[in-house]
């Protein structure tokens, strides 16, 4: 080890791997994936993983991905809820890995919920 | 010298910077009691008897190790200090075997003396659990009785200072006791029998094996012809056991006392010391001239010999093959003298009075029986002789001065100085140089090898060649020279080694002097001085001038180093393990 920069590079890299353990409190944006039997059967796992990977790839801070049980609308699985502090909850349905990447891009990063994917659009 | 100003018991005092409170108090005429403290070798502050009050200090202060500093106010005799010291003594007594009536150290016990000084009125003030320890009497020379041990560790320090360290503290807390590793018996470890632990023990926990009964038995046996011989240093130390000044030469009174004890003949080991020089000088010249193993190392000190056998067995070829003076003496008695008297050597009992506990071990060594019987039957220490004199009711101080018996009472000054470090070397040089050059020395004083330094070196030009010699006393110092021999950096031809620091005058068999004397009086130098004075006063100062020696060679041995001399006066050594 010769420089502080070397150490800082290791630190940043290591930190990325540990963001999941940060206590983000109420300030965090939470992406909750329905992971009950119905969700998993409908393909929730690749969706969950796509969210995790995309957030890591973009090095987004203050965003956690977690799971939940059956939300009760099994025909719409995989279902994903995005909860942002101070905003309405947005519920996306019939999600895929590709859609997940788009949600991160449009909704999480740019603040534009994708209405077409929401439960509202699906039930129309 | 830089000094600091302090106050002791309100008395202003200026003392050298770096002094301990103990040293400073002595300058002020106050003796602070100590038990564990031995200057330079046991500064461990363990016994807590020397505690004093220092103004501003949180608790009491350990006088033996605490350095004074400017403005320090010390109180050595307050109620608190006295109470603490008394409590310490009472606690020590609570684990101490208080059979003082039958203890060999009664009267010379430091604990006993302190209890008296501090008015310990109840020896059972802290009576409680005690641990019983078995004696260790496995070694040839001494007995350890842990029931009397006060754990001052002076013996451990003395053993460490010899570079031996075969005893130390085992277990911990209340169970702490002094013994060898794994509680092995002393006979089964590499103890060299030097007895330095004994002379440093404040109590009766370590004592020499008492052989006085055997001596008395022999004297009282009408069929036995009992010959006593006294080592060179005994005359310089025996008086101490009778309260005489350190360094008083009591040769005449000693002879008188021995005669009154009933020995048939009172001879001088000094005679054998002269004989040793004849043989050793010859051996040395032979090794130099015929490519023998060099450097040659003296072999008078049995503690040193045992050290070499345990720790440097590979250097055994460097040892002179000469027996020690004690053994040469015994061998001469049981061969030549027995023949002269027409006596069966089995009826002869040779008793050595030695400054040394290792001599007890030496008498039992193999290859020490020229006549077929042990060369020496019994070796007793200076202390044992003193006890014999005392118990025989002899007023030692009032005895007339008497002369040794003939013919083996004759000796030269060269033999007398065997008792001090450097003495053997000087005596050997006196004879070797004259033998080599064939000329009389202008001066017999080889002052370079005298004195109490740990290691002394000198080089002499003898008939065109340089002879380089070294002298060491104390096995730890000997180690320095031995390591040099091992790594090939020793360019000496001749080395004298004595097992005990300072040589025989400080041997493990010498009279007990309390630690306070050892710490503040140059015991070794003062004892040695008596020997050098005797040498200077002697008309004959070279071993080869001893008439009895000349007669012995003429009538019996032939030449120094002759076949017969080898059979009777030389021995061999064995490599020993460190643990059995």
């Amino acid at each position: 080890m010769k420089t502080i920069e070397e150490l800082m590079a290791i630190r940043e890299n290591a930190k990325k791997k540990m963001t999941v353990r940060e206590d983000t409190g109420d300030e965090a944006t939470r992406i909750v994936v329905g992971m009950a039997t119905c969700g998993i059967a409908a393909g929730a796992r690749p969706v969950l993983n796509a969210f995790v990977d995309e957030i890591a790839k973009r090095d987004l801070k203050g965003v956690t991905v977690s799971q939940t049980g059956c939300i009760g609308m099994c025909q719409y699985e995989p279902i994903v809820e995005v909860l942002e502090p101070g905003k309405e909850k947005v519920t996306y349905v019939k999600m895929t890995a590709e859609k997940a990447v788009k949600v991160v891009n449009d909704h999480i990063v740019n603040g534009n919920p994708i209405v077409d994917f929401t439960v509202g659009a699906a039930t129309k | 010298m830089e000094t600091v100003n302090i106050q002791i018991n309100g008395m202003p005092l200026s003392v050298p910077k770096g002094s301990t409170i103990l040293e400073a108090a002595r300058i002020g005429g106050i003796e602070i009691p100590t038990l564990c403290y031995l200057k330079d070798i046991n500064e461990i502050g363990a016994c807590r008897i020397c505690m004093v009050e220092v103004k501003g200090a949180r608790s009491l202060v350990t006088a033996c190790v605490y350095p004074v500093n400017e403005g320090m106010e010390i109180f050595t005799n307050t109620e608190r200090v006295r109470h603490s010291r008394k409590t310490t003594l009472e606690l020590i007594l609570s684990t101490h075997d208080k059979s003082c009536l039958s203890c060999v150290r009664s009267g010379t016990c430091e604990l006993q003396q302190l209890c008296k000084e501090f008015g310990v009125d109840d020896p059972n003030a802290f009576a409680g659990e005690t641990i019983h320890y078995d004696f260790d009497d496995s070694a040839a020379h001494m007995v350890r009785d842990n029931n009397k041990c006060i754990l001052c560790r002076r013996c451990v320090a003395a053993c460490d200072a010899q570079g031996i360290s075969v005893i130390g503290a085992n277990a911990r807390g209340f169970d702490t006791h002094i013994s060898s590793a794994f509680d092995k018996d002393l006979a089964n470890v590499s103890c060299i029998s030097c007895g330095q632990c004994i002379v440093n023990c404040p109590t009766g926990a370590i004592v020499e094996k008492d052989d006085t009964d055997k001596v008395l038995e022999a004297i009282n046996d009408p069929d036995k012809f009992v010959i006593v011989n006294t080592a060179p240093s005994i005359r310089a130390t025996l008086g101490e056991a009778f309260g005489m000044h350190i360094g008083t030469n009591v040769e005449g009174k000693m002879v008188a006392a021995l005669r009154r004890l009933g020995f048939d003949k009172v001879f001088d080991t000094d005679f054998a010391a002269d004989l040793t020089i004849m043989e050793e000088a010859h051996e040395f010249l032979d090794r130099v001239q015929n490519g023998g193993v060099l450097p040659m190392i003296t072999s008078c000190s049995p503690g040193w010999i045992k050290y070499c056998e345990h720790y440097y067995p590979e250097l055994i070829p460097h040892l002179s093959t000469c027996k020690s003076p004690q053994q040469m003496f015994g061998a001469t008695m049981k061969t030549y003298y027995a023949q002269k008297l027409g006596m069966d050597p089995k009826d002869m009992v040779v008793v050595g009075v030695m400054p040394c506990t290792a001599k007890k071990f030496e008498t039992k060594r193999p290859d020490q029986a020229a006549s077929g019987y042990p060369d020496v039957d019994i070796a007793i220490t200076t202390r044992e002789l003193a006890r014999m004199i005392e118990s025989a009711g002899i007023f030692f101080k009032h005895l007339p001065d008497e002369e040794f018996d003939v013919p083996f009472g004759e000796s030269t000054g060269a033999a007398t100085i065997f008792g001090a470090t450097g003495g053997v070397m000087e005596a050997a040089l006196r004879t070797a140089v004259e033998t080599l050059t064939g000329e009389t020395l202008p001066s017999v004083d080889f002052t370079e090898v005298r004195g109490m330094e740990n290691i002394k070196e000198a080089a002499y030009d003898v008939a065109g060649t340089t002879v380089k010699v070294a002298v060491a006393s104390g096995t730890k110092n000997a180690k320095v020279l031995l390591d040099k021999i091992k790594d090939g950096t020793a360019d000496y031809q001749f080395i004298e080694i004595m097992g005990c620091p300072g040589g025989c005058i400080n041997g493990g068999g010498q009279p007990i002097q309390h630690a306070v004397v050892r710490n503040f009086v140059d015991l070794k130098a003062r004892r040695a001085e008596a020997l050098y004075r005797s040498d200077a006063d002697n008309a004959k100062r070279k071993s080869h001038e001893n008439a009895a020696i000349k007669q012995l060679y003429a009538e019996f041995l032939g030449e120094p180093g002759s076949h017969k001399a080898h059979e009777i006066l030389h021995t061999s050594y064995v490599a020993r393990k460190k643990y059995e």
Partner: protein, 595 residues
């Protein structure tokens, strides 16, 4: 990239309640469900709430599972990790309220705590240097070597007000400056990890949970004082700590954070680990150094002090683990930040090991100045079984007790000293009304008698005699004169012993005498043990009106001390009775009474 991290405590406490098997089970269950790419299992150091071990935290939710068993693992994996449903029955009940699951930090146990020394314990994987670096690890060292002079480092430590956490409370910066001031060809840094107080395990937890912070702090100390070599003296009874410390040292060497020319600064430093054989006295700094040198671990007189002649007779700085654990944070966040915590003369936080009669046994780190009441009632969850608090012992066998009347004393070095106690290394043992204070004093003294090295007379013989006097008291054989003699001997041992072990050994006796003298007097004059602990002073008897003569007690009595025929009143022969209490437990009618 893992979406979830499962942290399982791998500290000694949880390890001994089988957390390693839980980790194995977790990993195999996760693999079975094909989640190994999504969920990472991390073995951490101690979380502190040892009473509830084995402990597991699942992130990102931060769900705190306690007392997890191997059998619970499939359910946690199936429900929580796969389906995202919390397994509520295993959650720490303090975190579960009617409507919500609270975060751990909001529970009573954690919310008053302030973790500085323990900040990474239970948070990072101690065997992974990168996790330590992720939490600013080695940044303090980099700052020292790149931006600060040794004198500046010492000044920061001085200004922080940090004092030695090992017991004495000596100002750390001052200690460093003493060593720095001594010129020598070689100097040393020593970390005292020979934690020996009964019940104290904060140093073990730091070494197990965050070993790199000790490596970093010692290196900083070396830079500040001019030492190039360090020794960590750790008990051999701490195998996990030793292993992680060795891993940490190896990793630090690999990353160039130990060794030659660290951070290209020209500064060299390396560390060695030495194992202690479990002698309490080796926690005393001079005994510790004697032991490192290869000799029998015994203290030596001071002066000379270690800063002048320490390890191998060279200038040496010795600090304990918790002290070092504070250093990197002080360097990074500044002296003012540290000094803002605590009281006027005791800055920062202190870790305590809560033990004894308290609900939440474990490790807590609190700002100096927190009261004993807050520690016991709020953080510790109070005394179990509705019993009354009697006293708390701090400082282990060297300390004293704090009675209920002083519960509101803010805990810091000076306040504890003022009431005859001492901070010690931070063991805090809670006692309730069922504890006999004479017996407690005896317990601690028994420990010091056992652990005395045997070098000096007052400690070797004095403490033994002291213990015998206490035995006499609890046996009901002492007189009031013995009590005076007891006190006198205590004061003698304090004033005359060679090292701290002996000098403080009588403290448990003196403190209990000070606050609970009446209990001593009760033992001596009334021949009664008020708490009902001291066997010799108790008698068991059978109340005739309650005894039905069922013979149950007589059949159970191991000493054959109970006599009586069926359906007749039984009696206890007190000469034969060994006071084991079996009859009391056996009797269904409440006829056996203990007095």
């Amino acid at each position: 990239m893992y979406r979830s991290h499962v942290l399982v405590c791998g500290g000694t406490g949880c390890t001994s309640s089988n957390s390693l098997a839980i980790i194995d089970a977790l990993e195999s269950e996760i693999a079975k469900k094909g989640l190994q790419e999504e969920v990472k299992v991390v073995r951490t150091g101690c979380f502190g709430l040892c009473a509830l071990g084995p402990i597991m935290i699942v992130y990102p939710e931060g769900s705190f599972y306690s007392q997890v068993k191997v059998e619970d693992v499939p359910e946690i994996v199936e429900e929580h990790l796969l389906k995202g449903r919390l397994v509520k029955r295993l959650l720490y009940d303090e975190t579960v309220t009617m409507e919500d699951v609270k975060s751990l930090q909001e529970t009573d146990f954690y919310k008053k705590q302030h973790r500085v020394a323990l900040r990474n314990c239970g948070v990072i994987d101690p065997e992974n240097i990168e996790e330590y670096i992720a939490f600013d690890g080695y940044m303090a060292l980099a700052k020292c070597l790149k931006e600060l002079t040794p004198a500046e480092v010492i000044q920061i430590v001085k200004d922080s007000g940090l004092r030695g956490r090992g017991g004495g409370g000596f100002p750390t910066g001052l200690k460093w400056s003493f060593t720095a001031a001594n010129e020598a060809d070689q100097k040393y840094v020593v970390c005292n990890a020979d934690e020996g107080d009964p019940g104290a395990f904060m140093d073990r937890s730091v070494l197990e949970g965050d070993p790199h912070c000790i490596v970093e702090a010692m290196t900083i100390c070396g830079y500040a004082t001019g030492a190039t070599e360090g020794y960590v003296y750790v008990r051999a009874e701490y195998p996990i700590a030793v292993k992680r410390l060795k891993i940490a040292i190896k990793q630090a060497r690999e990353y160039g954070l130990l060794g030659k020319n660290i951070f290209d600064s020209g500064f060299d430093f390396d560390l060695h680990v030495r194992l202690g054989a479990g002698a309490f006295v080796c926690g005393e700094e001079t005994a510790l150094m004697t032991s490192i040198e290869g000799n029998r671990g015994e203290p030596r007189p001071r002066p000379p002090y270690p800063a002048v002649k320490g390890l191998f007779r060279k200038p040496t700085t010795e600090n304990n683990v918790e002290t070092f654990a504070n250093i990197p944070q002080i360097i990074l966040k500044g002296a003012d930040w540290f000094a803002s915590m605590g009281t006027e003369k005791s800055k920062g936080t202190k870790v305590f090991a809560l033990g004894g009669k308290i609900k939440n046994t474990g490790l807590v780190e609190i700002p100096m100045g927190t009261t004993l009441r807050e520690i016991i009632e709020e953080i510790g969850g109070g005394i179990p079984n509705g019993k009354k608090f009697k006293a708390a012992q701090t400082g282990g066998p060297s300390g004293g007790c704090i009675p209920a009347s002083l519960m509101d004393t803010p805990i810091d070095y000076d306040n504890l000293t003022a009431i005859g106690c001492m901070m010690g290394s931070g063991g805090l043992i809670v006692m309730d009304e069922d504890n006999c204070m004479v017996d407690i004093a005896k317990f601690f003294l028994n420990f010091t008698v056992d652990e005395s090295c045997g070098k000096c007379t007052p400690c070797r013989v004095g403490t033994k005699r002291l213990l015998e006097m206490l035995d006499k008291i609890t046996a009901g054989k002492a007189t009031m004169e013995d009590l005076d003699k007891l006190e006198d001997l205590c004061n003698y041992i304090k004033a005359n012993s060679l090292c701290g072990l002996g000098q403080t050994a009588p403290n448990p006796v003196l403190a209990t005498l000070k606050f609970f003298r009446e209990e001593y007097v009760a033992h001596i004059q009334d021949k009664k043990c008020p708490a009902g602990v001291c066997k010799a002073l108790m008698t068991y008897s059978i109340e005739a009106d309650k005894c039905r003569g069922c013979t149950a007690c007589a059949r159970k009595c191991p000493a054959g001390a109970i006599e009586g025929k069926v359906k007749e009143v039984h009696t206890i022969n007190t000469d034969k009775c060994i006071k084991c209490g079996v009859c009391l437990e056996t009797c269904k009618f409440g006829a056996v009474v203990k007095k």
